[in-house]
Amino acid sequence: MYWGVDVGSTYTKICGINEKKELVDMSVIPTIVNQDEIVKKYLKDKDIKMLVSTGYGRHMIEETFSCLVISEIKAHAKGAYFFNNDAQMVIDLGGQDSKVILLDKSGGFVDFKMNDKCAAGTGKFLEIAANRMGLNLDEFSKIGFDANKKLSISSMCAVFAESEVVSLIAKRESASNICYAVHESIASRLASMANKFACKSEVILFTGGGALDSFLVSLLSEKLEKTILPSKYPQLTGAIGAALCGYEIYQEV
């Protein structure tokens, strides 16, 4: 088996593929301390031909398992392309970062944009806003469809944006309308990153936890005037990409 481990800021994703490149094992575990120990336990007694790690904690896994590492960008490009090889652009919205990746026809990544360290336009921002409203992420993503007023949030900084949310609450704006505003701000950020590339493909793949948010998906496709396709197993895309990389390298050497 070929394994991919993606240690993200919020979750650690593990997946395994077999000789036929079929996904046969996958798991999403919250990222806490000593993540390598947890991964070790998970992989104990499993057949490992190749292990490749990616994500924020990739170097920790590298040290423990002395395995190969690849960047998240490469991992996401690979994983997304695997399920849909028509797309030449991938948008990834994770807990602490957002990226837009441009692929060539054969799925190799050509270029990318990624947010700076600030949390605006990332999954964290959705989480902060949802918390403020006393909702979980799933609930928060649904109520946006009921918005009847196009409110907007002007601040680019997650901390200031949170206080804008607070003042919208104080103004008795409805939860749906506030939800709209928060999503709008993230979607515009992602769209402007994506628009910096003149992307020819009609379909854009959406990966990472953000792709689970159906309202965000619909806003984004409206803004970009393209079909936004949440990738299969959005959160696992990076781990799948890492496993695929391991598979390829194993065949090469």
């Binding site: 690849i70 960008i73 490469k74 190799g108 270029d111 990318f112 990624m114 700076d116 360290k117």
Partner: protein
């Protein structure tokens, strides 16, 4: 260590010695971890390792020795400081600390949060009294290159004398005329400090010394970056050597850099490279990289890339031009030549600033680089905004480019590394694709 040996002197110049010692130890530790651990370093780096260990000791003693003889001692944050004049007067001109996050909280008691970390860090060093260079300076040289600096001088001046030189933001004849007057005024200010007239011959001698220093740095620049087959020194070491050029005695420094270059020349002959073959070669463009800000170089060179040049003020922008002194007959000629040389500096504070773009494109070609990283400090509006025009030109020329905006805090080191790794991967991918293309 050295701080203890120099405790007496440091307290005499009103350094907060205990706090200073703590910071120095942190700095030294991180230097050891990031620099001394590199493999196959040139022998001649030993001098610079020593200098680092004595950075706030021996050198401070030397500077204060000069001050006892009433020689001027000037600290600066910008390469527009006419150091030729200071050195001509027998004094010392040095760059002040401004690359550490450890002083920023103190600075924010007086300065706004959202200005660039360089200014905040520097201001914090003064408030904390933890930079022995700041404490040793007769005055701090300030300029009007950006709003953050310009306004900070007014506040800094409450704690330490500041001499502000008005640097124009355009290079029309009337601006250049004013610039020359500013240099003359600067010279007069130096005379006030020393209480003595400066002769033409003294200033020429200062100019010669600094010309030699810039020549040595240019030599280092070509040795590290012009030959893709052999890279005899890491970008990190070369950056550090350049950074020390803003602190060390210029004559001794020039000699040491030339010794290093001799060794590098030999290494090139013997084909001793510190990077593997086909390591992607990157240039760094943008804002100055004040020590101990080694974040970007560490990220790149620990991810399988090599930095071959900095188009920065601590870098190529500093040493690319020299003062032409061949036909100087009087002081006025010298002032004109100084002004000419300084007006070649393509700092982003100028508008328009197209020579910078032309220079970058040419540099990229000459050095057969594989990509560039445009690095800017957060809230450095000049370089940040200019990045649009620069990257537009780079894209048009088909040059891979990554823009990174960051400050001195360590939190985003991991994220920067991810982006750098991905960038390096994409460069290698493109290289491979190009090879395949040229085969078919």
């Amino acid at each position: 260590m050295s701080v203890e040996e120099h405790r007496k002197l440091l307290s005499e110049i009103n350094v907060d010695v205990d706090r200073h010692a703590k910071m120095m130890n942190m700095g030294l530790e991180s230097y050891k971890a990031q620099f001394m651990s590199q493999k196959n370093r040139p022998e001649a780096m030993k001098y610079f390792d020593w200098f680092m260990s004595e950075i706030q000791g021996q050198r401070i003693a030397e500077i204060n020795e000069l001050r006892k003889q009433k020689k001027p001692s000037v600290g600066a944050f910008c390469i527009f400081v006419p150091e030729e004049i200071i050195v001509g007067a027998g004094g010392a001109c040095f760059g002040l600390c401004g690359g550490s996050p450890a002083t920023i909280a103190d600075a924010e008691t007086e300065l706004p949060r959202n200005i660039c970390p360089l200014i905040k860090s520097a201001h914090g060093f003064k408030l904390q009294r933890t930079c022995a260079y700041t404490q040793s300076s007769d005055f701090i040289y300030g300029e009007t290159t950006c709003e953050a600096k310009k306004k900070t001088w007014e506040i800094l001046n409450k704690h330490h004398p500041v001499h502000v030189m008005n640097i124009p933001h355009m290079k029309r004849d009337k601006d250049l005329k004013m610039w020359k007057e500013e240099i003359i005024e600067f010279k007069e200010h130096i005379e006030e400090v020393t209480g003595k007239k400066l002769s033409l011959e003294e200033m020429l001698e200062g100019t010669r010394i600094i010309n030699e220093k810039r020549k040595a740095l240019l030599r280092l620049d070509s040795l590290r970056g012009l030959n893709p087959e052999v890279m005899p020194i890491t970008g990190k070491d070369a950056l550090f050597v350049t950074q020390m050029g803003f602190l060390d005695d210029p004559k001794r420094y020039t000699q040491k850099v030339n010794e290093l270059c001799d060794e590098l020349e030999k290494r090139v002959e013997d084909k001793i490279s510190v990077f593997e073959k086909d390591t992607p070669r990157l240039m760094i463009l943008g804002t100055p990289i004040a020590p101990p800000n080694w974040k970007l170089h560490t990220a790149v060179e620990s991810s399988g890339g090599a930095i071959i040049n900095e188009e920065s003020c601590i870098g190529h922008r500093y040493y690319k031009d020299n003062v032409d002194i061949d036909n100087i007959k009087n002081e006025d000629d010298l002032m004109s030549e100084l002004m000419k040389r300084y007006s070649e500096v393509d700092c982003a504070c100028f508008t328009p600033n197209t020579p910078r773009i032309d220079k970058i494109l040419k540099m990229y070609k000459d050095r057969q680089a594989d990509g560039v990283i445009y690095y800017t400090l957060s809230f450095c509006h000049t370089y940040n905004i200019e990045s649009f025009l620069v990257t537009e030109a780079l894209e048009a020329a088909g040059i891979p480019c990554l823009v990174i905006e960051s400050d001195y805090s360590p939190e985003d080191a991991g994220q920067i590394k991810t982006r750098v790794e991905a960038f390096l991967e994409s460069i290698s991918f493109k290289k491979k694709a190009n090879k395949l293309k040229s085969k078919s």
